[in-house]
């Protein structure tokens, strides 16, 4: 049970949690709820499995995961802060981002390019949604003493028009398995990563470091946050993995790769296996994974009229 002091936050959750699929601590199959007038629905294009586990050492699960198949959205957050504040931060982040995008994407025709960014126009919506989430967490942490200083990492992916927009803050990661090639797509915003980049330590030495837990960027700790966002081409058959550091700190990349490659036919088993490996290696932190497989191309068909209209704009 949450204490009385969380009531303002509870109200906030009720307000936005109306019809979006969301899970903390358990895996839930997302059902396509709500009305979406958007032409593009990715329900048939993506296969998504998400799982979060408390691990073996912690008393709370401060991770939060969510996905929305219609939008083609996957979000994962790893909260930090004393008592239960970490779980509050990650929940607000995930719920706000899903709710904001659900609303703002209704008004956007897929397949448009944002000229300023040179990316799919949805990128602008992601920046806005993340800024809103940041402001929400920050205002709760300012008004609720037991939430002071809370924050969260974030990694999210939005599939649109045969592209994937990847946004992240902190040390939650996204990986991609394409054929035999397994790559880490995000670069941690952490002290360790900066030390590796500056040549102070090698990646091998980094594995032994005592500073694994220090992130240099987080959502909700300052009035504004800098989001890192990139766009990638997607191919049918790609498998994307989003995970919290509870997985990437405890299971070697090579073992994650082996698991995804071996169990690609059964994503749910693959997700369970990854969590089991992290727990077998100590389970020092909460472990969350989202696996998303692209089943087929989802490019937006555009008429010559649309193109001309874009060109005239």
């Amino acid at each position: 049970m949450r204490s009385q002091a969380f009531s303002a936050y509870d109200f906030f959750l009720k307000k936005i949690a109306c019809n979006i699929g969301f899970a903390q601590g358990v895996s839930v199959v997302i059902k396509g709820g709500g009305v979406c007038t958007r032409l593009m629905k990715l329900t048939d294009v993506l296969e998504v499995v998400r799982l979060t586990d408390i691990g073996r050492k912690r008393e709370h699960n401060e991770d939060a995961v969510a996905s929305d198949m219609e939008m083609g959205l996957v979000v994962l957050a790893d909260g930090m802060g004393g008592y239960k504040a970490g779980e509050v931060a990650s929940e607000i982040a995930v719920l706000t981002i899903v709710a904001e995008l659900k609303e703002s994407m209704l008004a956007l025709q897929p397949g448009q390019i944002d000229m300023a960014e040179g990316m799919q126009a949805e990128s602008r919506l992601i920046y806005d949604a993340v800024a809103k989430a940041n402001a929400s967490i920050y205002s709760v942490s300012q008004s609720q003493p037991q939430c002071a200083g809370m924050g969260t990492t974030l990694v999210m992916g939005l599939f649109t028009n045969d592209k994937l927009l990847v946004a992240h803050i902190g040390d939650s990661r996204m990986y991609r398995l394409r054929g035999a090639e397994f790559v880490q797509m995000t670069e941690d915003h952490s002290l360790l990563q900066e030390q590796i980049k500056s040549g102070l330590i090698t990646p091998e030495q980094a594995k032994l470091s005592a500073n694994k837990n220090l992130v240099t960027r987080a959502l909700g700790i300052d009035p504004e946050v800098e989001l890192e966002l990139h766009e990638y081409e997607v191919e049918a058959g790609d498998i994307y993995l989003l995970c919290s550091d509870g997985l990437s700190d405890l299971v070697e990349d090579a073992d994650i790769h082996l698991t995804l490659a071996t169990l690609s036919a059964n994503l749910e088993l693959a997700a369970n296996q990854l969590i089991q490996m992290a727990n077998d290696n100590g389970g020092k932190d909460n472990i969350s994974v989202i696996l998303a497989r692209v089943l087929k191309s989802y490019s937006v068909e555009r008429s010559w009229y649309d193109k001309l209209f874009d060109w005239l704009k």
Partner: protein, 254 residues
């Protein structure tokens, strides 16, 4: 806070607390750790402390710097490391490691935290009073009494070595065209079966081997019973049947 215990030919001369972001070691008096010996370069080496990590760097000294007998250029110091400069030995003792040994709650260290530039500065210049502390290491004149405290410092906990007598799983095909074939289960995961018909995976875990159904209509059968969709622990000499092929699972000494 980490410290260095310095000694010459086994005799402990004192210790130095690493309370600054950058600590220099050398023959010149301007160094934080001043070693008056001709084998030591003017600016010999430096230690950079960030959070709980300390990085040792040799500053292109004439005679070099070694850690635990190996010459190094850059090195991440770990509890118990012995740095050798000239004839002097500096033993690195990290407080974090001591805490883990004594308090037994290393989990606290694992919590993710945000580090800001201001906080990082505070972490490295915590003690203003300690400012520019310079330690002079002079060769011992008389017989110095070795510091007893240094002897009581615990060695680093041994790395987790695999338990003695680890058993390795194997599978031998008992029927069908592949009869007699043997497979060593030395990876975390090994798949068996036919894609589209029935595939199972054998996972290697710290406490044993488990078989789980991956895909297809055919579920693996162990000792005559279908295991269904759940993971099933394998015992020595279990007979696995998958897509009409019989296999024996057995354990051997690794």
């Amino acid at each position: 806070m980490a410290k260095l215990i310095y000694s010459l030919e086994g005799a402990v001369l004192g210790d130095f607390t690493l309370d600054k972001e950058r600590i220099t070691i050398g023959r010149r008096a301007s160094n934080d750790i001043h070693i008056d010996n001709l084998a030591v370069s003017g600016e010999h080496a430096a230690i950079v402390c960030i959070g709980r990590d300390s990085f040792l760097e040799d500053l292109d000294s004439s005679n070099g710097t070694s850690v635990n007998g190996k010459a190094i250029k850059k090195h991440v110091l770990r509890n118990g490391d012995v740095i050798e400069i000239g004839k002097y030995q500096l033993k690195y003792v990290s407080e974090a490691a001591e805490n883990i040994v004594t308090s037994g709650s290393p989990e606290d260290f694992e919590k993710t935290m945000i580090i800001r530039p201001a906080a990082m500065k505070a972490m490295t210049t915590e003690d203003d009073a300690a400012k520019l502390q310079t330690t002079n290491i002079q060769p011992p004149v008389d017989n110095p009494t070795p510091d007893v405290q240094a002897a009581s410092i615990k060695p680093p906990p041994p790395p987790q070595a695999p338990a003695e007598g680890v058993l390795l799983g194997n599978v031998q095909v008992l029927s069908g065209p592949g009869m007699g074939k043997q497979l060593v289960l030395n990876k975390a995961l090994t798949t068996l079966g036919k894609p589209g018909v029935g595939v199972a995976v054998i996972t290697r875990r710290p406490h044993g081997y488990f078989i789980t159904h991956v895909q297809g209509q055919t579920y693996p059968v162990v000792n005559g019973n279908s295991v269904g969709a759940q993971a099933h622990e394998l015992n020595d000499h279990d007979v696995i049947e998958l897509v009409g092929v019989k296999m024996e699972f057995f354990l051997t000494k690794a």
